[in-house]
């Protein structure tokens, strides 16, 4: 099915490239192993170190294995690139764009991906394939996912020790890795859908990991549901693209309209019908918005923090949520040609607009969060915004590079947060309440945090700088000044809220649990929320936040129940053994497992946690130097980015070569300055607000009306949910349900819940009035009618002979009369 590429002929390949599919298969096997035998395995003590049981080892092992495979693949791909004999290095310190242009002319240098494709099934004349498609992009993401998953799983060994669904957790985590890798490997859209949905499932299972608490399961439901809404776009989009591209693809030797290369080729061939490609791209982009938490479907991501921290760090910051971005990058031509809208002569790309909006919106929200994980969550959303915007403005390579770097520092940040709650704040994520001054107590965590924060803020020489700044720079270069400014503002805000978070967490006076106090009622922490928490089934984001933030406590709470009833529980959740259960019980001080005892106050986390932190921190700093335009290092561009915006060997009139900005410190200067400014301002404000006694601005948002309003505005997330609720849900629902009064009851509910409620109620209404009355009624009615007719005719059967006779004869007479008249 490959094109006969002259270039392809002398490109090197290798075992790993040929067998890349193993990368995804190994975790799959791991998953089934855990499922099958996980619960039966107990801890094995080998001398001093214990190999934890519960099947987690299968998970870690399989991840490690696929990491090795991924590494091998990456290595051989690099070989392949080099064997193509073209590198940026040779061209000295000029911008990648120039070289990009240069090589765009020589098509021979296009490095054909290694595609292995097997027929899955044939149906209705179309062939559904399954296979692996290795090029720079998939190579780097594979490596990334495998790597991060491995680290997070190791981290979880400690973090989730003694959890009652330890085994389930690792099973889901491994399955997720399998799903994500499947999607990344995919050589066709169907396989992408497959991986995509498996990820969704795992996200559901992991967010709802502690499903005893209704709030968690609701958060899980919301996440799955919101993403599912996006998936409508995926199904529709794939369908549209398939039928539009199929003939072209098959004609040019690509498998079918599902084939990624085929789609790219079709999209750039210029032969594609514009409506088809537009609608296809729109539909698919909806899916990406849903998955990557872009505005306006971002609301599920913060709630997803209800899951255990490792989940947040793996799925909801570094890997799964970039799936959307990945899809856009994967079939970039479709979006690039499909979504470029022509506003007033200047080409705008819808992607960029959405991305831009997301950056600002999310960043602003991050300011008002008191829950550290939520700060990070919103920052994730806004960083995803950067990636989208990058793709929107045509900065393909920087965007992908930002995926790469972002994964490291954001994952690291989350793990730090986890580490803090684990050992520092007694399972609380409340910065205002349970943190502060931890920098001395948890030096390693603090160090890692600082590095990652710097990276995130884009402080020069940290990885974030090289990726994010490239995006901003490219926006400027490509003439999208609006987005350039947005990018800069975003950078400023990022620094600001991160400074705030850092201050609240590590500086100032220790508060609450951080100070070693032992307080259990975290519920009290959020007065504004509790109002809603009481509200019946509010899945209002911040209502969930109230629960979400305290979730980790629940990790232990029901375990208490189990500690008392070990026998019974053991056969329900075979994986819990008494010691774990008891050690988790910190309500009564019967038993204490050493490092778990909160009464010892905050302390540094054990190695299983800190080691991954350090590794990630190192990368958070160093990963940037793969593509440090500032030092004219272009490794990443060479290995990953398609040549001159070519995603396939040219067929017909290719369009849309990507401009790439040449790096100049001058251009970088503004953002650097803004970063510093952001830091300064924010630090000052923080100290003066949260600082100790006589802080001039303490409680300012209470005192000054405009600020108070602003605060409230942000706090309620721009009243977005209410707005959705009032306008969208009500507007849509009214004609259907024709029962406005329902919505008075729903006004305070969030959109998903609101939509759910609406659907439920209108369902009820339809069921009651249409189904039972009209449709069903007609049937029963007809029955009744028949009986009624029977009764009506009853008098005819009076029992009186004469009447019978009369009837008989009159009928005869009438019949005779009529027929005579008719027939003669």
């Amino acid at each position: 099915m490959m094109l006969a590429q002259d270039a392809a002929a002398n490109l090197s390949s290798g075992w790993f490239l040929e067998h890349a599919w193993l990368i995804a298969v190994v975790p799959g096997i791991g998953f089934f192993l855990i499922l099958a035998v996980g619960k039966r395995i107990r801890d094995i003590k080998v001398g001093s170190l214990t190999i934890p049981g519960g099947g987690s080892m299968f998970g870690v092992a399989s991840m490690a294995a696929s990491l090795v495979l991924a590494a091998g693949t990456a290595y051989q791909w690099i070989q392949r690139v080099d064997s193509a004999g073209a590198t940026h290095g040779a061209l000295g310190s000029f911008g990648s764009s120039i070289t990009g242009m240069l090589r765009a002319e020589g098509e021979g240098n296009y490095i054909t991906p290694v595609v292995k494709s097997y027929t899955w099934w044939r149906q209705g004349g179309a062939t559904f394939t399954i296979g692996s498609h290795i090029d720079g992009l998939s190579m780097i993401i594979l490596l990334l996912v495998a790597f991060i998953s491995t680290l997070v799983q190791i981290y979880s060994l400690e973090y989730l020790r003694g959890d009652r669904r330890y085994t389930h957790f690792f099973a889901a985590l491994t399955l997720f890795a399998g799903g994500m890798l499947t999607m990344v490997l995919a050589d066709n859209m169907v396989q992408i859908i497959l991986g995509w949905e498996i990820m969704g499932l795992c996200s559901f299972m992991l967010i709802g990991h502690w499903w005893e608490d209704a709030a968690n399961s609701r958060a899980a439901l919301k996440a799955f549901f919101t993403v599912r809404v996006g998936d409508v776009g995926l199904l529709v989009g794939v369908s549209i693209i398939f039928f539009s591209a199929n003939s072209f693809a098959t004609k040019n030797g690509f498998g079918s309209g599902f084939d990624l290369q085929g789609i790219n080729a079709w999209a750039q061939s210029g032969t594609a019908s514009h409506t088809a490609i537009l609608w296809g791209a729109v539909a698919l982009f909806i899916a990406c918005i849903g998955k990557s938490g872009q505005f306006p479907l971002h609301t599920w991501l913060p709630d997803a923090m209800a899951g255990p921290t490792p989940v947040s760090s793996l799925l909801h910051s570094s890997t799964m949520v970039v799936a959307g971005v990945y899809l856009v990058a994967r079939i970039y031509p479709v979006f690039h040609t499909g979504l470029s809208i022509n506003v007033a002569g200047s080409h705008f790309n819808l992607i960029a607009i959405i991305g831009g909006i997301t950056i600002i919106i999310a960043a602003a929200l991050a300011f008002v969060q008191t829950d550290i994980k939520k700060v990070l969550a919103y920052s994730t959303v806004s960083q995803l915004g950067y990636m989208m915007m990058g793709l929107g403005v045509g900065a393909w390579t920087p965007a992908v590079f930002h995926i790469f770097t972002h994964a490291f520092f954001k994952c690291c940040l989350f793990l730090c947060a986890g580490s803090i709650s684990h050992s520092g704040s007694h399972h609380s994520f409340e910065m205002k309440k349970d943190m502060g001054g931890l920098r001395k107590k948890m030096p390693i965590t603090f160090a890692c945090w600082m590095v990652s924060t710097a990276a995130l803020c884009g402080v020069p020489f940290f990885s974030g700088f090289f990726s994010k700044d490239e995006i901003i720079d490219n926006a400027h270069h490509a003439g999208y000044n609006v987005f350039w400014i947005i990018g800069l503002v975003g950078a400023f805000m990022t620094t600001a809220y991160m400074t705030r978070a850092t201050y609240l967490t590590f500086f100032g006076k220790p508060r609450g649990a951080a100070a070693g106090e032992h307080d259990d009622a975290h519920g009290d922490a959020h007065d504004p929320h509790d109002l809603d928490v009481d509200d019946a089934h509010a899945v209002q984001p911040h209502a969930v936040a109230a629960h979400g933030s305290t979730t980790d406590d629940h990790a232990h709470q029901p375990v208490m129940a189990m500690a008392r009833t070990v026998g019974d529980v053991a056969d329900i959740h075979g994986d819990v053994d008494a010691s774990d259960a008891e050690e988790a019980v910190h309500a009564d001080d019967a038993h204490h497992a050493a490092e778990h005892d909160v009464h010892h106050g905050p302390h540094e986390s054990p190695a299983l946690i800190t080691v991954p932190l350090v590794i990630l921190a190192v990368l958070a700093f160093g990963s940037g130097y793969l593509n440090a335009a500032a030092f004219s290092i272009h490794k990443f561009t060479d290995w990953v980015s398609p040549i001159g915006g070519q995603f396939f060997p040219k067929i017909g009139e290719a369009s849309g070569e990507l401009p790439e900005a040449a790096f100049k410190w001058v251009n970088a200067l503004p953002s650097i300055l803004l970063v510093l400014a952001g830091f300064a301002v924010s630090a000052a404000v923080c100290i003066s607000i949260y600082g100790d006694t006589a802080a001039p601005l303490k409680g300012i948002t209470k005192r000054i009306a405009p600020l108070r309003w602003g605060y409230k505005f942000l706090f309620n997330k721009y009243y977005l949910d209410v707005l959705y609720e009032k306008i969208i849900v009500h507007g849509v629902a009214y004609p259907v349900s024709a029962a406005a009064y329902w919505f008075n009851q729903n006004v305070l509910d969030g959109i998903v819940n609101g939509a759910g409620k609406w659907a439920r109620k209108s369902g009820l209404w339809i069921y009651k009035n249409v189904d039972q009355r009209v449709v069903d009624g007609t049937v029963n009615g007809s029955g009744a009618a028949a009986r009624g007719l029977g009764s009506a005719l009853r008098p005819v059967q009076s029992g009186k002979v004469n009447q019978y006779g009369a009837l008989l004869f009159s009928a005869a007479a009438v019949a005779a009369l009529v027929l005579i008249l008719v027939n003669t």
């Binding site: 009076s798 009186k800 002979v801 004469n802 006779g805 004869f809």
Partner: protein, 99 residues
Amino acid sequence: MLISEFLLLGAVLFCIGVYGVIVRKNAVLVLMSIELILNSVNINLLAFSLKYNDISGQTFALYIIAVAAAEVGVGLALVLLIYRNKRNISLDELSEMKG
């Protein structure tokens, strides 16, 4: 010869008979009304038989007379039966079963 008078007579008898069947409440009277109808039929048959100079009409009439006799026999027996059980023969009383 004119046939229409006969037919007219037949028709009149028929109508009278039908009228009797419909309005008479007394079983015996109803029986007699029916006899009237039968006789109207006989008149028709005879008339036509003459018209066609065909004897089968007359045979038919004979059959009817015979059968009518049998019928009346049965009919009176039934009326008697009812009279025995109810002490009257008004047909309106005969509405045990209805609906």
